[in-house]
């Protein structure tokens, strides 16, 4: 082989703590290396040109670049060598930045380590073989999971782009958290008035198929060809018949059902439509509150329904859809208020979450838009807002800033004044984060125009005193303790991952962070992609986000799907397992352990049983290779010989270095 080695300085990122010239000089002596040079920025245009020129002039048939992590630039350099006519798999990277220069302090040791990493890259490259991708057809339908504002936007953009779009929503209506908000910041316009038309578009779009009250049961397959199982939960109402007239809810005698749409502020009927603008506007029965299910009597709804839509026998149903890409837009949930015992969360009825407060402010909410204390219905004359409840708090493993609370708290303070002009408003805050367009101006309005008293400090406790609530906090700017009496305390509770997000991540085979938010493929450059090809993220499921950011990300995800679907066929990764039929004894252990069902049993010409890899299904994990005692099945590009070459070199070199 004729191997070229390019050692990147990455400015001072690598060269600062690694002697790149020395690494290159050492590499020059490695077997089959005919060229080894150091270069300021290998990934830059001149850097890549130099590689191409070297391949052409020196007749290289293998290239090693020692630079950053392959997770960053492997694809870049593979295209580079391909432009010079090499097969893209005749390339290896040595990660001497993230794994060396950025983590080791001793330049000499770093240089040794970098040299070793270059050497094992060379050793592996010597066993590399050209691999060729196969192509396969793409199913140009897209699945959008979650129909909050991000999911709605993604679905509408995909459908407008001409794609068949399947939308799966867990609750009985689309709209998500945004539909629950009274107004939005910083414009203070009616939230559902902005969102409503989009919800209607979603329902009426001829390219969109909506499954409400449904969840993802399973997802299999791979980019371009996913198979999804959708569980449609029983609503006990035949939605094909239901007209949404609401007669059932009017007559339902069970009026104590928990009202989830109203964040448990107030109660609803056992059969209900969550709110006037609900899409689809269909009734569903909460079996845990319905007298028919609890006591086997009643049945009023069935009697009054003019279209005979009530079906107490209805069961969950699983339907299957085939899609080529998935947009995950499952949003967030607020942390459980009961976790905040110091503020009486869950104990004092007049301590509410910010989302509950939105419902209390909303004209379509349980109080009809009249601000009332939940305990006794009186109009509050003092409302205290507490920021960062469950955010920036390591003591409860929540180091993150939830991002949007500062803004909605200001909005809620402003709205409080417009509901009850003589109400005092106080906001306890640590820092105000208002970097959006018009955001900081909005905070100033809350303080200047709406006379909101901002107190810089955390609150230690909320306790009942003289029939009201005493809020004891600090004013760190004054260096004092403060106590203020409140009729209502609103906790700006931090945003956590949506309930069930970890389970969903496992079904989709995408990663999530410590808080349960889904991991993007790269924090800066691939914010919408996941590490699973064909699965994209939109909105707050990736981390807390406000409405404009969620909408933007919804559109971005749709754009990614359309770019993916712009090709008729996709190329499969040739880093898949391959069976050596001569060695295969036909035990089929590989077939049984393959997580993807990518191995099938075939008859050889002599009638004997052999395993065979379905290349478009194989994901390249290599579990089969390890399972096979005879190594009759090997994962291409990560064969035993390739990995052994690395192990053997390291051991051999160490042996040689070790004192006799």
């Amino acid at each position: 082989m004729r191997i070229g080695v390019f050692v990147c300085h990455c400015g001072t990122n690598i060269a600062g703590t690694v002697d790149c010239a020395a690494v290159a000089a050492a590499a020059q002596q490695f077997p089959e290396v005919v060229l080894a040079v150091d270069t300021p920025y290998a990934c830059s245009e001149p850097g890549q040109r130099a590689i191409i020129e070297a391949i052409e002039q020196k007749g290289l048939n293998g290239v090693v670049v020692a630079s950053c992590t392959p997770r960053m630039h492997e694809a870049t350099f593979r295209r580079t060598v391909e432009r010079a006519g090499l097969n893209r798999y005749m390339f290896e990277m040595a990660n001497i930045r993230e794994h060396v220069s950025w983590v080791g302090r001793d330049k000499k040791l770093n240089t040794f380590k970098a040299t070793d990493l270059v050497r094992i890259a060379v050793e592996k490259l010597r066993y590399n073989r050209p691999l060729t991708a196969k192509s396969f057809a793409v199913n140009k339908r897209v699945l959008v999971i979650g129909a909050g504002v991000a999911g709605i936007q993604a679905a509408l953009d995909c459908a407008d782009g001409g794609l068949e779009t399947i939308v799966v929503e867990r609750t009985s209506t689309v709209g998500g958290k945004m539909a629950k908000l009274d107004k939005t910041f910083p414009t203070v316009d009616c939230s559902v008035c902005v969102l409503g038309p989009k919800m209607v578009d979603l329902a009426q779009h001829r390219k969109i198929k909506l499954y409400a009250m449904s969840e993802i049961a399973d997802l299999s397959g791979y980019v371009g060809n996913f198979e999804v199982s959708i569980r449609r939960k029983a609503t006990y109402v035949d939605w094909n018949k239901c007209t949404g007239c609401g007669l059932c809810a009017d007559k339902c005698p069970s009026r104590k059902a928990p009202d989830h749409f109203n964040e448990l502020v107030g109660r609803t009927t056992a059969i209900s439509i969550p709110f006037p603008q609900a899409i689809p506007k269909k009734a569903s029965i909460d079996a845990s509150s319905c007298l028919h299910f609890l006591k086997d009597r009643c049945g009023v709804c069935a009697k009054v329904c003019p279209v005979e839509a009530i079906d107490f026998e209805q069961q969950d149903e699983v339907v299957k859809e085939s899609v080529g890409a998935v947009v995950v837009a499952t949003g967030f949930d607020l942390l459980d208020i009961r976790r905040f015992g110091q503020y009486g969360g869950g104990r004092f009825p007049d301590v509410v979450t910010s989302l509950q407060y939105e419902r209390m402010l909303s004209a379509s909410g349980p109080t009809g838009g009249h601000l009332k204390c939940p305990s006794d219905g009186r109009e509050p004359k003092s409302v205290v807002f507490i920021s960062c409840v469950g955010s920036r708090d390591r003591s409860m493993d929540r180091a993150i800033c939830s991002g949007f609370c500062c803004m909605y708290t200001a909005k809620q303070a402003i709205l409080t004044k417009s509901h009850v002009p003589d109400c005092e408003t106080h906001v306890f805050y640590m820092d105000i984060r208002a970097p959006g367009k018009g955001y900081d101006e909005f905070i100033r309005r809350a303080q200047e125009e709406y006379r909101t008293n901002y107190v810089r400090g955390r609150v230690s406790s909320v306790y009942p005193k003289n029939g009201r609530l005493a809020v004891r906090g600090a004013d760190t700017l004054l260096g004092t303790q403060t106590e203020v009496m409140a009729d209502l305390v609103v906790l700006a509770v931090g945003a956590g991952a949506a309930e069930g997000s970890r389970d969903l991540a496992e079904k989709l085979r995408i990663s999530y962070d410590a808080y349960g938010f889904f991991m993007e493929s790269h924090p800066k450059l691939k914010p919408v992609e996941t590490n699973t090809a064909g699965v994209f993220l939109a909105g707050a499921c990736q981390g807390p986000k406000d409405i404009p950011a969620s909408v933007a990300m919804g559109s971005a995800a749709a754009g990614k799907v359309m770019a993916l679907f712009s090709k008729e066929r996709l190329e499969s990764d040739p880093q898949v397992a391959q069976v050596n039929a001569v060695r295969c004894v036909g035990c089929l252990k590989c077939l049984r352990t393959c997580p993807f069902g990518a191995i099938q049993e075939v008859q050889a010409r002599d009638g004997s049983t052999k395993a065979q890899v379905i290349e478009s299904v194989c994901q390249g994990c290599g579990v089969c290779t390890v399972t096979c005692t005879d190594r009759a099945i090997e994962l291409q590009h990560f064969t035993d010989n390739q990995l052994l070459a690395e192990v053997n070199y390291l051991c051999r070199s160490w042996m040689e270095k070790s004192p006799a």
Binding site: D19, H99, F638, L643
Partner: protein
Amino acid sequence: MSVVDGKEPSVKELRIIGFLCNWCSYGGADTAGVSRFSQPTDLRIIRVPCSGRVTPLFVVKALMSGADGVLVSGCHPRDCHYSEGNLYARRRLEVLKRFLPTLGIEPERFEYIWVSASEGERWQTSVTAFTERIHALGPSPAVKVNRYDARLVAGGL
């Protein structure tokens, strides 16, 4: 092959190989790098697609041929990019860990852990702890075999 000035570095490094899955742990090591979490330099990382690709034989081969320590790191259980690879790995590697003492190799020289792509700090802590553990154990006795072989060759046996 000599580097810098042809002399051994002043700090004595031991010989540690890491097998890291591409999706979680290799990413976690990258995250540690991006965050500049400094670590001992002894470890040499070999990238594999999945911890399920790591045959225990790689580990034994390394330990019997002169590595002082081997660390395998994959995605947390339930979080495997290939959904199950690390679960197979866990069984194979646990059996291996228990097998090592029969070969006269301290089982502490081998460890397998789970580090996700977001856990840069955990990676730093793990590498540091493992490197310290290997330094506490000292160089591997497996060197003996190879020296024994060298003597056999030299002695013409």
